[in-house]
């Protein structure tokens, strides 16, 4: 986490103080600042409302194919922002500017909130819900007074991921022509090789994300235990009346159509209209490389996140600082992280452009997505179980392995899944750091999209979604999850 920051400060110091002043003080920077903030705020607000509403619906209403729907609404995050946006504007060329960016970004970030809210909803004790209803509260009032306070922390954490995603996104804003910090920074790198000015802008971006993160942690309420220990109902009485089911089905269907089916169909049509030949062996090799690199990345992220999570649990302030630092770095554009790791890695020839450094880069880029999940999952393991284990003569490490880890596992898994999904489609850092000849689905796809061959990129984009679909589907299988609920609901969330 220190690597990119040290790099940026060093580069920024290279610039003469005069350039520094002109860059920071010019009116354009203020405009970029305002655009970035408004865009982020709007997208976060909309994605949060839509995401919570959809998660609630998926959890409470009897939908046809519930498992499939839960997996499908998550999958839009597997489509790279650039490809997603391209699909939309190739059909609606007039889709340009600020509002188009709000639309596209809300579609592609809502899954972060859905995932967070869904896993928190599974932990809610629905017997309280029943009590509230017998006391005469209607569904809406029950939601706001009983359910929402219990899922709030998780949802805010999901919204934070949305905010950081918008801050670091390049694909959508560049294609739609919206000037955010990330676009300005990337253009500086592309155009004038002016690395100092870019570094100054990147530091401003770091400051913005720092402010957002501290707002998030301030709104976080201290975990209240609403649970009555005698009787826990984890599965709500599903709403089955026709009108609710119809509305819920239509909403879910529309989202899946807009966020997933539409871009994929467009790619498939492009593919068949040109009847490009698929090189299956290359496709398979790229898919394997993607899985290997992203899994390793997710694994390293987990290894780094576990100690941070455990130490934060024990109240270490250094760990809390690391926890925040990881999030701050998450808002940086991929090209900045890539170049920072190039500057760092090329000092060590034996390490540079190896799978190890690539996995490390993924872990660094996306650890923010798992560190929170690890922290909260650990915190939800009941202390009394740990105490009982100790009285039964287990050592601390035995207790950790046999009690804490299994209980926290589902939550840790869903955080690790997010790292995996993000690493799979990462491009700028991958292009700079992958081992030579080790092509992933994302780099192969870029090979074609960079020269406008969307028809030939289509099989790789589809493979990317397929590879993403398997873990997403597994993690959403309630039968796996419910087994853990029998013991205690250590179910994961992202807060």
């Amino acid at each position: 986490m220190a690597i990119p920051l040290v790099y940026l400060v060093r580069r920024a110091l290279d610039s003469e103080s005069q350039t520094l002043a002109t860059v920071v003080m010019r009116r354009k920077t203020l405009e970029i600042f305002v655009t970035t903030l408004t865009l982020t705020t709007l997208v976060v607000a909309l994605a949060t409302i839509i995401g919570v509403a959809m998660a609630w619906t998926l959890h409470n209403v009897a939908l046809p194919f519930p498992n499939l729907s839960r997996a499908l609404v998550i999958l839009p995050i597997a489509i790279p922002s650039y490809v997603f946006t391209f699909c939309w504007i190739s059909l609606f060329p007039e889709l340009q500017g600020f509002w188009a960016a709000v639309f596209i970004l809300v579609l592609s970030t809502t899954p972060f909130v859905i995932l967070a809210a869904l896993s928190a909803l599974r932990r809610v004790d629905w017997s309280q819900h029943e009590v509230a209803q017998t006391l005469g509260l209607n569904t809406f009032a029950t939601f706001f007074q009983v359910t929402l306070p219990q899922i709030r922390n998780s949802v805010t954490a999901g919204s934070l991921l949305v905010a950081l995603y918008v801050l670091s996104d390049f694909g959508a804003v560049s294609l739609l022509g919206v000037d955010t910090f990330t676009r300005a920074i990337s253009n500086l790198y592309r155009g004038s090789f002016d690395r100092s000015t870019a570094a100054v802008l990147a530091l401003i971006l770091v400051a913005i994300s720092g402010i957002i993160i501290s707002i998030e942690s301030r709104t976080r309420s201290h975990s209240k235990n609403f649970r009555s220990s005698s009787r826990i109902i984890n599965n709500p009485q599903l709403i089955r009346n026709f009108k609710s089911r119809a509305i819920a089905s239509v909403v879910t269907l529309v989202y899946v159509l807009l966020g997933l089916a539409f871009p994929l169909t467009l790619l498939i049509i492009r593919f068949f209209s040109n009847a490009a030949v698929i090189d299956y062996s290359n496709l398979l090799r790229a898919a394997l490389s993607t899985i290997i690199a992203s899994l390793l990345g997710a694994f390293v992220a987990l290894l780094l996140a576990l100690p941070v999570g455990i130490l934060v649990q024990q109240g270490s302030s250094l760990a809390r600082f690391a926890d925040k630092g990881v999030l701050v770095v998450h808002a940086l554009p991929g090209i900045v992280m890539g170049l920072a790791l190039v500057a760092f890695g090329s000092e060590f020839g034996w390490l540079y452009q190896t799978l190890g450094l690539l996995a490390f880069a993924y872990a660094l880029l996306f650890m923010a997505k798992s560190v929170g999940a690890v922290r909260t999952s650990l915190s939800r393991v009941p202390q009394n179980l740990v105490d009982i284990s100790a009285t039964l003569g287990q050592t601390r490490s035995q207790t950790f392995r046999r009690i804490v880890l299994p209980l926290a596992a589902p939550g840790i898994l869903s955080g690790t899944l997010l790292v995996f999904l993000a690493a799979m489609k990462e491009l700028p850092a991958t292009l700079m750091l992958h081992p030579t000849g080790f092509e992933t689905l994302a780099t192969e796809m870029w090979t074609y999209t960079s020269i406008f061959r969307f028809s030939e990129a289509a099989p790789y984009a589809l493979a990317l979604v397929l590879v993403a679909a398997i873990p997403t589907f597994l993690i959403n299988r309630p039968d796996l999850v419910n087994r853990s609920d029998k013991y205690v609901s250590g179910e994961g969330d992202l807060s």
Partner: protein
């Protein structure tokens, strides 16, 4: 998850991880080819177009190539960060600007005279450390059924006739190189005037050249400023004839700027002679001919070679511009920002 289920999961995870390790070791071994000489190439030219040439080179010389593809400007930035630690031997760039940026950090080696003498001085570096390989010309693309009177100079595009009908890609490197050349030939004030006039004509802004050509084909706009080869690229992508043509401004107009794709050798490379062989190969007559027919670019070595259906390079009458100076886009970007195009 129960403890037993967790143990099962852990076993499976262990099995999976060990399989992964085996798989990655296997890939690593298969890449470890015989002890033939290998050079590392950073290529800003896309794999689709350049790979056939590179494969032919390996087949002829036995020199293996480890190629890393990327965006030219991003690769140049990467080379600047790597500095003297760069593993790269050779840099192939889409444009002169990226070459110029790395050249001014003095990271390239001097090229021998047998390479330099193949190429006209205006298509190579003044400090003899990079050469152009192929030529690419700025043109305007238009819809033949909706455009009858063609513009003669870039100034015509500011006429009310073109209001809302013109497409440009102001964040794109090729457009910025053109504006940089415009500043060089007319000065900053005149360039600002032209850009302002164009902006007042409400152009449609795009991210890439190819989007402009596609927008002409689908009727969104009628004319646009692009590089000449995008016409073929878009037609190939869509798999059909497209409703767009290209043409040049009058002889000598700055709108006909010729930029080059080029090559350079890193001064830290320990394989100078193998890298030189690759550049010599790319400049060979038969290979230049293949560039012209396969990627529709202009040959910089043989003036008798040019793409079908276009005029020869000497008839395009591109204005004289110092290509190396196109690296510094700072003034250009500042101007574009000031006018509000980026």
């Amino acid at each position: 998850m129960s403890p037993t289920a967790f143990a099962r999961l852990r076993k499976r995870a262990a099995l999976f991880l060990s399989l992964l390790t085996i798989a990655s070791l296997a890939t690593a071994c298969s890449q470890d080819s015989a002890k033939r000489e290998t050079i590392t190439v950073y290529s800003g030219r896309s794999e689709e177009f350049i790979a056939p040439f590179l494969e032919k080179f390996t087949a002829e010389t036995g020199i293996e190539l480890d190629v890393r593809y990327g965006d030219s400007a991003a690769l140049a930035a990467q080379l600047l960060e790597e500095g003297s630690n760069s593993p790269a031997d050779l840099f192939l760039s889409q444009d002169a600007g990226s070459l110029g940026a790395v050249s001014s950090a003095q990271l390239f080696a001097q090229l021998p005279s047998q390479i330099l003498s193949r190429i006209e001085p205006k298509y190579q570096s003044a400090s003899s450390d990079w050469v152009g390989v192929t030529g690419r010309v700025r043109v305007f693309a238009y819809a033949p059924d909706r455009v009858s009177a063609l513009p003669q100079t870039i100034d015509d595009l500011a006429a009310p006739l073109w209001k809302g009908r013109l497409g440009i890609a102001p964040t794109n490197g090729s457009f910025q190189a053109f504006v940089t050349a415009l500043i060089q030939s007319r000065g900053e004030a005149a360039t600002e005037q032209w850009l302002t006039a164009i902006k007042d004509n409400e152009p449609v802004l795009f991210e890439k050249n190819s989007q402009i050509v596609e927008a002409i084909d689908n009727g969104q706009i009628d004319i646009g400023l692009v590089n000449h080869y995008y016409l073929w690229e878009v037609a190939e992508e869509l798999g059909r004839e497209i409703n767009a043509k290209i043409d040049f401004f009058q002889a000598g107009d700055i709108g006909n700027l010729t930029n080059v794709s080029g090559a350079a050798i890193l001064s830290t490379s320990k394989k100078q002679s193998a890298a030189q062989k690759l550049i010599e190969f790319l400049l060979r007559d038969d290979i230049q001919k293949k560039f012209v027919s396969d990627t529709h670019e202009y040959s910089l070595v043989n003036p008798a070679l040019w793409p079908d259906g276009l005029p020869a390079l000497q008839d395009v009458k591109s204005p004289a511009v110092d290509l190396a100076s196109l690296a510094d886009l700072r003034r250009t970007q500042a101007l574009l920002v000031k006018i509000g195009l980026i």
